[in-house]
Symmetry: C2
Subunit: 195 residues, 2 copies
DNA sequence: AATTTTTGTAAATATCCGCTTACAAAAATA
DNA sequence: TATTTTTGTAAGCGGATATTTACAAAAATT
């Protein structure tokens, strides 16, 4: 029997979680089915994670490291605010597209398990995204590129709906979505809000 | 023991579902807890609905009748497209605020049970909302109030994110949300997209 | 008043869930 | 090579779930 180190198995398990959600739906995300997907016994899953909840938290940590770092970096790049906004949006959408299942997992499980830490984590992620967008808007204002009367908070709220409806559409329509087009079109629309 | 007609019990049960979700979370939505909330035995629940899934479908039917009819009517009112857009948005947000738990239920359960009919119903609801918005945009264009170059489909997608992020915020922050302000501010923002 | 239908209960059902335990063997370390 | 640590399995645990069954009594109908 082939054996692998914990760190590798942990990655395999987290990957399998997203795969199951994207292809079979959240209801099939049991430790039994997860074990089958990874090719291990159920007990082995609990060798690498203390609990199912811990797997979820691990995935949230990944989002924090991968997506949030990317977005944070974009938000302080030395390019015009307009360009930054565009890049930010595309990076965001791209990540969600590549990691299908992650939004459903986060929201569905955050709603399902009535778990304080998980809700807090999700809330933290969303709040930071809104803060970063607000910052870009503020920069755009002082650059003279954006309308000075804009309510940054509101723009950020409007923005935050985009990834959500993007996800709903991809899930419900299993769309062969043209991600680039979606992102470009949405940016065009938004740029008229900003100016 | 007081006895009531099926139609009344059905309403009580559906109401209890939303109450549980809004106050205790989706995880507490078991037939046991539901029966307790209504003040019946578990068996009685199944006297009035064939299955738990059927309760969900019943609630979706209510949304179709209450929310969708309201929105449909607003979309054809004989007032300027701008006003219609505003009214549409506010009615939409208001309904979701008054029926807290409904969005979580619809999305969370649609994601959870990988159920074709439920997904189709939800998809139908969202698609119609987008169609109605598209129609209002088109009317606004021919009235000369909206920018003729607008991509109606994209505006509708952008729009559809608003109720979603509204819900996420109310759920995650248990906000003492000022619904009217939210709606007015969001409309102001959007009207700059439209013109 | 007698009968049928509807609405209720209590208890049991099979199934699935996350997780633990007892044990084996591979891999790393000494 | 001998020992310890890590990674695996098989089986089973208690508990929760949606749903069913057998039966009682209220309400409606005759």
């Amino acid at each position: 029997m082939e054996r692998k180190k914990t760190e590798i198995r942990r990655e395999e398990i987290k990957k399998a979680v997203l795969e199951i959600i994207a292809t079979e739906g959240v209801s099939k995300l049991s430790t039994r089915n997860l074990a089958k997907k990874v090719g291990l016994s159920e007990g082995a899953i609990f060798r690498h994670f203390q609990s199912k909840r811990d797997i979820l938290l691990g995935i949230m940590e990944d989002v924090k490291i991968d997506l949030q770092n990317t977005l944070r970096e974009i938000s302080i790049e030395l390019i015009p605010a307009e360009e930054r906004f565009h890049k930010f949006l595309c990076a965001h959408i791209n990540y969600l597209y590549k990691h299908q299942g992650i939004t459903i997992l986060l929201f569905s499980e955050a709603a399902h398990m009535n778990d304080f830490l998980i809700k807090e984590q999700l809330n933290g992620i969303l709040k930071e995204q809104k803060l970063l967008i607000s910052k870009i808007i503020r920069d755009g204002k002082s650059e003279g590129a954006f309308n000075k009367n804009l309510d940054e908070e509101m723009v950020a709220t409007l923005y935050s709906g985009i990834p959500l409806s993007f996800n709903v559409e991809t899930v419900l329509n299993k769309n062969k979505f043209n991600v680039k087009k979606f992102c470009a079109n949405m940016y065009n629309l938004l740029s008229s809000v900003l100016k």
